[in-house]
């Protein structure tokens, strides 16, 4: 299509009109920039609110830098070998009866050496215990706990990707200070944490590439071969402490889940390896084998379910009788029922135990108690108790933690008891640990309240600016908003900094960064309020708010939002949010279905209202009165039929999509996970993906054909780009599936897969968006050739010139997000395309383009699709493995991009397509550019309001439930997710939808079609 020729033919040539046109576009550009700035400053306000809340809620633990010193002589071993088997769950190492319903030959009874050795104490002394981790069960946190003996806080979980050197006193540091040489091999998290203490001969391996099952393990084994197994027994070793950290079991879990044949291979491999180590051990060497955490039924970890917390601790020494086992050994070490009642110790108990056995001081911050079994005489036990008690009381005195007098008294009483009878010392430790746990879950209420208040203010401002004040007025007010905001931010920064510098008030801010954040947020608030209150009174705004909620569909929208926001009032509702969201979306579909079938009377009033508005607009823009008013006419029979069809599509697609779920652990027996590796890589799932390659373009074509806009650029985009990329994507995921399911797969497809993935991502992210910037029109001049005299031509697709072109951009986003989702999630995304377009068509048919129900429906859709693409609002369900689609190692930004696109894909798509509510089936010459932009901003604002309300509600309720049993498991991850999705939507809406796409599109279409 030759754009310029059309432009020439359509634009009037008179100089006057050209000038008019030019000033209009100039005006539009200016107001567009101001709109973007206004929304960006509202976004900043929300980010600051989130930052304040997070600062107050996610606590940090006070870390003391003191280092313990040794004053007594003790210790049984000179050397030690420590082998960490990542994610070794307890039931993997104990015998399980094959008739047990929970028996699984892939992971039970394969690693049997540990238990056999424990049972047969003749050849040496050994000890096998259940090892309970503290949540969060991520490797970095566990390593910190295992070496410092202290408790983690929640915020640490987020920094699993970049651990930095540990500052606290810890076992490794203590041994290093004693002049011991520490050799390390395996997971490079150790290297990040303990680099200064490890010997230069250590060999860390890349740890987070979960698709690589063998590199780290083979590295560990060959390193042990070199430094331990290959040496003569009794020969002098170069090391005093040899640490190995194997990742194979963990990676099998992440990649395939425990229920997979590779798990057996891995466990057998570990079994043989342990046997070899034991046979090569010297007499003065202690062997410690442990898991850092377990894994849940999907093979992931991070939360605090029983399966994730239960791990293994095994100790071995050549000399028999070193460990004093419990007398009642059959009840203490009871393996019935997957070892449910087996004796367990806390992970932090390892630190004092190892320190005492190796003769190094117990680290200063340690809160653990030595394991009973490591001492075999009464005297020894009393010595150990005494040493540990001393260390604990030193920590208590130095940290000045226990302030409440009554708790202090209790502690003192226990201390006195322990001094008389050291065996009761453990009661002192338990009490002290409880107090510490209590103190470290103390919240900063000033910051929390500031966060909640700021977010509420931002919600009110968003509502005011994007909905309550008519968009026409806002477009006139925008030139006032931006200067006021900038000015007020500067003024309030100056004031706040002044007060903070002189009086150190408000005290909770602590440093200048937080001070300027608070000042900026106050500045933005005041800057927005001045122009608003200049024209409107608070009363007017309030009445306007009630008026806006007076029609049926707004109330439906408000009801959906209210229900969704109230889910966070109870843990059960939060757990079942996935089902409830789909229930709500289906309800909406049923309501629109009812509307189209019965056509209740409420239309007439809305239609009347729109008629008067668009009549004026039609005349102003030069369009004929009939065309401009066409959206005020009642629904035709065909339109009703179409509406029924779209409602049914929405309902059925939602219902089908809602069957795809990765269950939360808390949903228990009521949920059967359908999003597992097995189904993802099954032949039927890939078959469906192949069908989608053809079906998705066909569906989109169908929707385009409804408005005759499958013209010019649309076939290229849909039929060539989309189909091609979907097919390439299909090949990529089939190869992945084959790798996962075929046992003796030998071809190394890494390079091939990277090439494919990068081609898809590069094309979808960069090339196709540049293509879109060129302005692909979806219209065609239809000239009737038989009628040569007539001066008439029809523009096909004219009615949907905006929407059709805009949707191409959404297709770009879809192409990209498809790649980063697993096959079953791709099916869900296919359904999402249909749901999305059906919702937009329904909104258009019901003439609800400016109603809040449209953006709210899309907001619901985003959440539904978040759940049906195999996610839950929990940390273990983040699909880290997709991070390695584009690169083998963690590389900024490829890994991060992949995980973000995987997790927030549906939100990003919805944030982009919310503009379609306005643009779909919008004719070019009816609305002025500014009006159109104002309406887009209004709809975007409503989507933001939806997510802000959810975020605010989760803020309030997580703060309210801060002492709830489930807060770290249910409410806190949900609040983190709400905050992050709000941030994602803010960024996409402000910079993608409004700044980039809408401005460009409106300018271009007006260039061509405006008379």
């Amino acid at each position: 299509m030759d754009e310029h020729s059309i432009k020439k033919s359509l634009l009037s040539t008179s100089a006057d009109e050209k000038r008019l046109y030019r000033t209009r576009i100039l005006k539009f550009r200016k107001s567009h920039t101001l709109y973007v700035l206004l929304l960006a400053s509202l976004a900043i306000l929300q980010f600051i609110a989130i930052a304040f809340f997070t600062r107050g809620f996610l606590l940090t633990r006070q870390v003391l830098d003191n280092v313990a010193v040794k004053d007594t002589e003790y210790g049984k071993f000179d050397k030690a070998v420590v082998l960490v088997v990542d994610a070794l769950r307890f039931d993997f190492v104990i015998p399980v009866n094959e008739n047990d319903p929970k028996f699984n030959s892939y992971y039970h009874n394969n690693l049997d050496f540990l238990y056999n050795s424990f049972w047969d104490q003749k050849s040496g002394s050994s000890l096998l215990l259940k090892f309970i981790a503290d949540p969060p069960t991520t490797t970095l946190q566990r390593l910190k706990g295992l070496t410092t003996g202290s408790l983690p806080t929640f915020i640490d979980a987020g920094s699993n990707f970049d651990g930095s050197v540990i500052e606290e006193d810890n076992v490794i540091k203590q041994l290093y200070e004693q002049g011991k040489k520490i050799f390390f091999v395996g997971d490079d998290t150790w290297d990040n944490l303990f680099a200064p203490f490890l010997a230069p001969e250590s060999e860390p391996f890349e740890s987070l590439n979960v698709w690589d099952l063998d590199t780290v393990d083979n590295g560990v084994m060959s390193y042990f071969e070199k430094h331990l197994l290959g040496c003569e027994k009794g020969q002098r070793k170069e090391w005093d402490l040899l640490i190995g950290h194997m990742l194979g079991v963990d990676h099998v879990g992440h990649k395939y889940g425990p229920n997979h044949f590779t798990m057996r291979e891995k466990l057998l491999q570990v079994n043989n390896f342990v046997k070899e180590i034991v046979s090569a051990l010297d007499d003065d060497t202690l062997l410690v084998i442990m898991g850092d955490h377990g894994m849940d039924h999907t093979g992931n970890h991070g939360g605090d379910s029983k399966d994730e917390l239960e791990s293994v601790l095994f100790m071995y020494a050549n000399t028999p009788g070193l460990f004093g086992n419990k007398e009642d050994s059959t009840t203490a070490y009871d393996i019935a029922n997957l070892g449910e009642k087996y004796r367990q110790v806390n992970q932090i108990d390892l630190v004092p135990s190892i320190s005492l056995l190796l003769g190094s001081p117990i680290p200063f911050n340690s809160l653990g108690w030595p394991i009973d079994e490591i001492s075999n005489t009464e005297k020894e036990r009393n010595l150990y108790s005494f040493l540990t008690l001393n260390q604990l009381s030193q920590y208590r005195n130095e940290s000045h933690m226990v302030i409440q007098p009554e708790r202090n008294d209790v502690l003192q009483q226990l201390w006195d008891d322990a001094m008389e009878d050291p065996s009761s010392g453990i009661r002192y430790q338990v009490e002290f640990l409880e107090i510490c746990k209590d103190l470290w879950t103390r919240f900063d209420f000033w910051s929390i309240n500031t966060g909640i208040i700021l977010l509420s203010i931002s919600l009110i401002l968003l509502l005011d600016i994007t909905k309550l004040i008519p968009s026409i007025v806002v477009s006139q007010m925008v030139p006032e908003f931006v200067p006021w905001i900038v000015m007020m931010s500067l003024v309030s920064n100056a004031c706040f900094h002044g007060i903070f510098y002189v009086f150190r008030q408000p005290a909770f801010l602590e440093d200048t960064l937080w001070c300027s954040l608070l000042a900026t947020s106050v500045g933005i608030t005041v800057g927005c309020c001045i122009p608003i209150l200049d024209r409107y009174s608070v009363k007017w705004i309030f009445i306007r708010f009630l008026e806006d909620l007076s029609d049926y569909w707004s109330r439906i929208g408000a009801m959906l939002l209210t229900i969704h926001a109230l889910l966070f009032t109870s843990n059960s509702f939060t757990i079942w949010e996935d089902k409830i969201v789909s229930f709500l979306l289906i309800t909406l579909g049923m309501l629109t279905l009812y509307e189209f079938v019965f056509l209740p009377r409420r239309h007439s009033t809305t239609a009347l209202l729109t008629a008067t508005i668009s009549e004026k607009q039609g005349i102003a823009s030069g369009a004929s009165k009939g065309t401009a008013n066409s959206d005020s006419l009642p629904l035709t029979r065909f339109a009703r039929l179409l509406g029924v069809y779209h409602s049914v599509v929405l309902i059925v697609c939602t219902r089908i999509a809602s069957t795809i779920t990765i269950c939360r652990e808390e949903q228990g027996e009521f949920c059967i996970p359908s999003f597992t590796n097995k189904t993802n890589y099954s032949w039927w799932c890939l078959g469906l993906c192949l069908v989608i390659v053809g079906l998705l373009p066909a569906c989109i074509k169908g929707y385009y054909n409804l408005s005759l806009s499958y013209q010019a650029a649309a076939p290229i985009w849909v039929d060539i780009f989309l189909k091609g990329l979907l097919f390439t994507n299909f090949i990529y995921w089939s190869v992945t599936a084959l790798e996962n399911t075929v046992a003796d797969w030998s071809w190394n497809a890494t390079i091939f897969k990277f090439t494919l993935a990068r081609i898809i991502a590069g094309f979808a992210l960069i090339a196709s968006n540049i293509g879109w910037m060129m302005g692909p029109l979806c219209v065609k001049l239809n000239v009737h050739n038989t009628d040569t005299k007539s001066h008439q031509a029809t523009i096909l697709g004219y009615g949907n010139a905006y929407g059709a072109q805009y949707f191409l951009l959404v297709i770009n986003a879809f192409m990209c997000i498809f790649l980063f989702n697993k096959p079953l999630a791709q099916i869900s995304l296919y359904l999402m395309v249909n749901q999305l377009l059906s919702i937009i068509e329904i909104i258009d048919l019901l003439k609800l383009k400016e109603n809040i129900v449209g953006p709210f429906a899309l907001g619901l859709l985003a959440y539904l699709q978040f759940f049906t693409t195999g996610h839950q609002a929990t940390i273990p369900s983040v699909q880290w493995d997709v991070g390695f689609i584009l690169s083998g190692k963690i590389t900024f930004p490829l890994t991060h991009l992949a995980v973000i696109l995987n997790t927030f894909g549906p939100h990003i798509i919805v944030a982009l397509s919310v503009a379609l509510l306005t643009l779909w089936k919008q004719q070019p010459d009816v609305l002025k550019p500014q009006t159109l932009l104002g309406r887009i901003v209004s709809n975007c604002g409503m989507l933001l309001v939806y997510n802000t309300v959810l975020c605010l509600s989760s803020f309030i309720w997580v703060a309210y439930f801060r002492r709830h049993l489930m807060v770290w498991k249910i409410f806190c991850p949900r609040y983190l997710f709400a905050a992050m999705s709000l941030i994602a939507i803010q960024i996409v809406v402000t910079f993608g939808t409004i700044a980039f796409a809408s401005g460009r599109l409106i300018r271009q279409i007006n260039d061509i079609f405006w008379k």
């Binding site: 629904l635 035709t636 809602s658 408005s707 001066h791 008439q792």
Partner: protein
Amino acid sequence: MPVKKRRTVKKTVSFSDDNTFATKSSKKKHIDHDSPPVYVRKTISTIPAHLPALLFYYLYTTESYNTWKLLHLVIPLQVFYLVFQFNKAAVYGNKRLKINVTLVLLSLIAAFLLSLPTMLIIILFGAPSIQKLKETWLLSLHCCYLAYPVVYQVFNCDFKVGLWKRYFILIAVGAWSSCVVIPLDWDRDWQEWPIPIVVGAYLGAFFGYGFGSYI
């Protein structure tokens, strides 16, 4: 693609809806709503006392919430309710119609058949699709027989009167809102599918028959 340049290209917009015949057809639809010759008298006699009684029986006297037994009881009681209470309050034009026995039986069959589409709708709303099909069907039977008096009236006035819609809607709203208790972790027997929905539908129906005429 060659584009013919003309001075005055007239734009015509393709609109898939044909406006002319549509106005006619939708106008027709509204006539019946405005002043219905059929209405339900505002009288206390329409209050279905048997529904709360049945609910009481269902929730407190049966041990295991026997939904089948409840169905056996509700069908005859609903017929009685229609014949002796509801039909007497329904006014057609200016007179009350006598009960039409064939239609009573026919409506019984119709309500039974209606349970299939109702079941489909319930499944679409998110009920388990295969595992608990029998329970879902039982629930839809309950819903349909709760609506039975209205089904009779709809047949009686040839589907033309929109008045009866509210009764169906209220039953649906009752069932819809009672879903609230399902996800709660109270571990009660009555949270079992479909007990809360049955109760909700009964409450909706009670409200609908008792006070529907006042809305």
